[in-house]
């Protein structure tokens, strides 16, 4: 018998006797779920902390290298000056700035970029002068300003940190008031951070009764950086109720399907805008079509979210286990999704 056959037979026979020890399977499954738990929480953290990160990057010298990487992970794409001016979010942000500080109209846009559906960033700098610089980071979906960085607005000889606390506060108050809105209602607290290398102040503006600050401001060197914290940590604000209406009354039937962040970012639309469009008598499919998004894409996004919710519910034992695979769930939910996205307001279901 040729040796080749011997070897082949031997290997196959030997393989039969090999059983993968269950310990290995257990370990692999564990590392898989751990990996994804970690990854999932990272993504959530990323969204929430993105503005915070920019602030920390400026404040803590060692973090300056780490932060850009994290932001880059969300695939930031650069924008040209022209793109900013035609971009809805970009345009609105610039207008806000020009209204607040008319002198910035002469500033040059030195850098702009965006993370689709997450954030648009624009950096402007004064030509000549003392090089005043301002960076604006805007939420890509809601258009709300999330983070403002004001640099070198004070003369070099007398940087911000050389001013008295009262003077610093009035500068910060002025900036928030101009860019974000009235702050009289907020409680104020200021403290100096323990940073031996550089004098740093943290200013918190807190809504009465709330534990976390609504605006958090760091002042260091010649930079004021304001982060909007409130409103971000309460994603419920993002939700809109009663997308459709029946007989003039709000109809909540489709809310659980349409309140889907992934859907909003797919359609590049805020929940409020979506509701407005639907009120005009359009269906979700039509709105999607006007944005060059296919019906199938919409179905996929919504069905995925629903199936995930179902699986999560089952894992938490909130709902009885159906023992269906996720494919089966997707299939099951699809017809319902189709019904919702083709529905028009004021028509019977």
């Amino acid at each position: 018998m040729p040796i080749e056959r011997k070897i082949r037979e031997y290997l196959h026979k030997e393989a039969e006797t090999m059983e993968c020890p269950p310990a290995i399977s257990k370990r692999i499954e564990q590392s898989y779920s751990q990996y994804f738990q970690r990854k999932r929480s990272e993504i959530n953290m990323k969204k929430r902390l993105i503005s915070g990160l920019v602030a920390t990057a400026i404040l803590i010298p060692t973090a300056a290298f780490a932060a850009p990487n994290l932001i880059e992970m969300l695939t930031r794409t650069p924008m040209t000056v022209e793109q900013v001016k035609v971009d809805e979010v970009g345009k609105a942000t610039l207008e806000k700035l020009y209204n607040a500080f008319p002198e910035t109209k002469s500033f040059e846009i030195i850098n702009a970029s965006k993370v689709q559906g997450v954030q648009t960033s624009i950096i402007l700098q004064e030509k000549g002068g003392i090089g005043k610089k301002i960076s604006l980071h805007t939420n890509g979906i809601t258009g709300a300003l999330e983070h403002v960085n004001q640099e070198n607005w004070e003369p070099k000889e007398k940087p911000l940190t050389a001013l008295t606390d009262q003077e610093i506060r009035s500068k910060v108050d002025y900036l928030i008031d101009k860019m974000f809105g009235n702050i009289e209602e907020y409680e104020f607290a200021m403290e100096q951070m323990e940073n031996p290398n550089q004098k740093t102040f943290m200013l918190n503006y807190t809504k009465k009764g709330s534990k976390t600050p609504f605006y958090q401001v760091f002042v260091q060197d010649n930079t004021i950086s304001v982060s909007l914290i409130g409103g971000e940590t309460t994603p419920l604000n993002n939700k809109v109720e009663g997308f459709f209406s029946t007989n003039g009354k709000p109809d909540y039937t489709a809310d659980s399907f349409l309140n889907d962040e992934k859907l909003f970012s797919l359609l590049k639309i805020s929940p409020t805008e979506l509701k407005q469009e639907l009120a005009k008598g359009k269906s979700v499919v039509e709105i999607a079509a006007s944005k060059n998004v296919s019906k199938q894409q919409v179905i996929d996004v919504i069905a995925n979210t629903q199936a995930e919710g179902q699986i999560q519910g089952e894992n938490n034992n909130d709902v009885p286990k159906s023992n269906r695979s996720s494919e089966q769930m997707l299939k099951a939910v699809e017809p319902k999704v189709v019904q919702v996205i083709e529905h028009k307001t004021e028509t019977p279901w």
Partner: protein, 191 residues
């Protein structure tokens, strides 16, 4: 196993779908484990390599060509991880240590050697005598029944190199098995 279906599973698994991962794992782990066992001798090392393979699945997903059989891609992944494992220098250090510690011991595969009949043991030892490179080629050729061309693609080496490793490997096996006593030879033939 349909390629398209496996691909979809992989996609889901990449997104963190536990169910998809389990389906995928159940469908493949025996085969992967056996291949790894043929290529890596020690139990603890096999475990590490197995873990690596499944953790690496999504980074390699981009390279997966749906026109190719799924198992071909999977075995490529297995081979690369086994190779990576061997390259790690700290492991080399451990291997040296082990060689010292175990030099008196018979190399063992899954079964304790007492349970193996003599012929099997001869072949086991002969295969253990192959170099790692020869062994990869022999296992892919005879366990997975790949053509030499396919092995070249999998290992990312020229066909000529595959051929020379293949023939050298067979040579070693032949040499080590030729001193089987005649009755043993018959035993093998009867199998």
């Amino acid at each position: 196993m349909q390629n398209e279906y496996m691909y979809q599973l992989l996609q889901k698994m990449k997104e963190g779908d536990q169910q998809a991962f389990r389906t995928m794992y159940d469908a493949t782990y025996q085969d992967v484990y056996r291949t790894v066992s043929f290529l890596v001798d020690h139990q603890q090392d096999r475990e590490d390599v197995m873990n690596e393979i499944y953790m690496q699945m999504w980074t390699s997903l981009a390279n997966y060509d749906t026109n190719r059989p799924f198992h071909f891609w999977l075995n490529g992944l297995v081979i690369r991880q086994v190779q990576r494992f061997r390259v790690k220098s700290w492991r080399r250090f451990r291997i040296f240590e082990r060689i010292r510690a175990f030099s008196q011991e018979e190399p063992h595969w899954d079964q304790p050697s007492v349970l193996m009949d003599g012929t099997k043991q001869m072949i086991t030892q002969a295969i253990q005598k192959l170099t790692d490179k020869q062994r990869s080629v022999i296992v892919l050729r005879f366990f997975h029944d790949y053509k030499l061309e396919e092995i070249a693609t999998l290992l990312e080496i020229p066909l000529g190199t595959v051929k020379s490793r293949y023939h050298a490997g067979l040579q070693v096996l032949r040499k080590n098995l030729s001193n089987l006593p005649p009755e043993r030879m018959e035993e093998i033939n009867a199998n």
